[in-house]
């Protein structure tokens, strides 16, 4: 029997700490375990007994990179529980918070994590400042990230663990000067965001995976907060019905959980959103990214990164339009009396649908809660794809562990997993027999 074992420990250039353990016997992957290496911090257990007012900042601490998505999902759940309808300005400021997060987070993933694979570099900072093109990419990366960071900071207080969004509204508002500066910064990076799309449009990495896609999407626009949960099969579900869509799967080897939809694996994230709703992108994005958008719908997992790059352009275009066409004024936070109720919040985090649920007692303390994160929903696809990839490489006669490990890491990075969220995971163990 020919056996190969791969143990990839502490996978690099992803969010958090994960490992991958694969055993291949006679060309077949007989064991594939993609698992988080992060110890549980018991955020949902710690919810119990807390005041509802503390929930958004508490759940934000699940994850540094996705924190503002957690803040907004938690706020939505709390507002549902308290029967609070946010103002139109609050909705707009929350959209801007998500656009800031999307620009900053996608840019970090695409430039610092993925581009080194495409240029066969160890690190993005190894790009050659004396090479005109690579130097341009270096400057583009940090300029785009800085603009997204600035947008999130003036609107939400911080790009990590936002302080201004709260249950019922916002506690602080940007000045006209800050808004003007944000518009200027966003306009100044738009050409760079188009160069980013071009980089990923010409990337020839390819791995086909047929699956169902799921995303929270508005009916007539491409957003991250409002709408219905939509599947690639054309089904639509109200947010409140999310628990009928996602079936929990216990992974005894991992500190995280996995999920299925109607007994099958599914994918969430930018590729899901782009496959389902690319015709709802901002009109300027659709005009500027025509050839890239022609590649969708796509079953190439690496097109998740192209979809992320297009979303950066979209978030820039949307944010500019929102900031130019709305005057932001001071508003009082909406408050309602405490009551016993259940609240559900759903947000499209950069990596996909994020679900928060809380059960609140009459005095406003939390009885219990649940958080379902995007990486958990992509877990089964990631494992199945890693197994198939190794089988395909072995069938091609490739048994060099370094080569196999690099191909596995590239594929996993295409999914953009967030292990802080998932445990809340990469270490690869490869065993080929």
């Amino acid at each position: 029997m020919h056996m190969i074992n791969i143990d990839l420990e502490h996978i690099t250039k992803i969010e958090g700490d994960a490992s991958l353990s694969i055993t291949v016997e006679d060309g077949k992957a007989t064991k594939v375990q993609f698992k988080t290496e992060e110890y549980k911090r018991f955020f949902t257990e710690a919810l119990k007994g807390k005041s509802i007012l503390a929930v958004p900042s508490h759940l934000s601490r699940i994850c540094g990179t996705c924190s503002n998505a957690h803040v907004l999902a938690a706020i939505e759940a709390c507002e549902m529980a308290l029967d609070i309808q946010p103002s139109e300005q609050t909705k707009m400021l929350r959209s801007l918070t998500m656009h800031g997060l999307t620009i900053r987070d996608h840019a970090l993933h695409l430039y610092l994590f993925c581009l080194p694979d495409m240029y066969e570099k160890d690190a993005f900072l190894d790009f050659d400042e004396n090479d005109e093109h690579q130097n341009q990419l270096l400057h583009d990366a940090f300029d785009i990230k800085a603009a997204g960071n600035y947008l999130a900071t003036i609107i939400a207080g911080r790009s990590i663990h936002a302080m201004f969004p709260t249950i019922g509204g916002f506690i602080k508002f940007p000045s006209e000067e800050e808004v003007a500066t944000a518009i200027e910064k966003l306009k100044s990076i738009r050409e760079a965001t188009l160069r980013l799309v071009t980089e990923f449009e010409k990337c020839d990495f390819h791995f086909d995976r047929h699956t169902d896609y799921m995303a929270l999407l508005p009916l007539n626009s491409y957003g991250y907060i409002e709408g219905k949960i939509v599947t690639s099969k054309g089904e639509e579900y109200d947010e409140k019905l999310y628990r009928e869509l996602v079936d929990h799967v216990v992974l005894p080897y991992s500190q995280a959980s996995a999920y299925q939809y109607k007994g099958d694996a599914y994918m969430v994230g930018a590729l899901a959103r782009m496959n389902i709703a690319r015709d709802r992108l901002h009109k300027n994005t659709q005009e500027s990214c025509k050839s890239a958008l022609d590649l969708f719908p796509s079953t190439n997992v690496f097109h998740n990164n192209l979809a992320q790059a297009i979303e950066v352009v979209h978030s820039v275009d949307e944010a500019i339009e929102l900031l130019e066409n709305n005057k932001i004024v001071k508003e009082e936070v909406i408050k309602k009396p405490m009551r016993a109720a259940t609240g559900i919040g759903v947000v499209e985090a950069p990596r996909g649908a994020l679900y928060h649920k809380i059960n609140v007692a009459e005095d406003g303390t939390i009885k219990d809660g649940e958080v379902i994160v995007p990486t958990g929903q992509n877990q089964i696809n990631i494992e199945e794809d890693c197994g198939r990839l190794v089988e395909e490489l072995v069938a091609q006669g490739i048994t060099d562990e370094e080569k196999i490990t690099w191909e596995l890491e590239k594929l996993i990075r295409a999914y953009d997993p967030c292990m802080s969220c998932a445990a809340h995971f990469l270490k690869v163990e490869l065993d080929i027999k």
Binding site: T12, E15, R61, S67, K145, R158, E409
Partner: protein, 169 residues
Amino acid sequence: METDFEKIKIGWFVFSCSEDNTITFTELLNDHWQEWKKIFDFRHVKVLKKNNIYDEFDIAFIEGAIASPEHEEKLKDIRSRSKKVVAVGACAVTGMPASQRNTFTPEQKEAIQFLVDRFGALPEVKKVADVVEVDASVPGCPMNEKMFVDAVNGLVAELRPELAGNKEA
């Protein structure tokens, strides 16, 4: 860019936390990447590179709380290889919120005990200073950006005065 001097060797290690300080560090790169690239050898920084080198460090930044015996051993080993150890962020400096299970009620502790046991976690989560000597701390959740930059500049001045304030070194 090649340099004719030895760069300051940097390690960045993550234990139990949300990695908000890692993300804050990548945001600080927006303004500091050209200056830091000249003087720092990012020797073991998983968020930045694949081929990390684990040998010795001038400055080791520690993010997160210590949740397992493996964490304790790893942290002690990092300490033994590092001239300076800096705890960054609330979980490293105070333990919280990663150590929130330490404060659970007996009923809550009973509810989670099977998971603590399954993965061999410590009975109580610890802050970094509970395990090793810390040379500097940068509190905050996420870490305070100005305090981090001040701490970095202070350590550069102490370890390599010829590089401090001379970003063109």
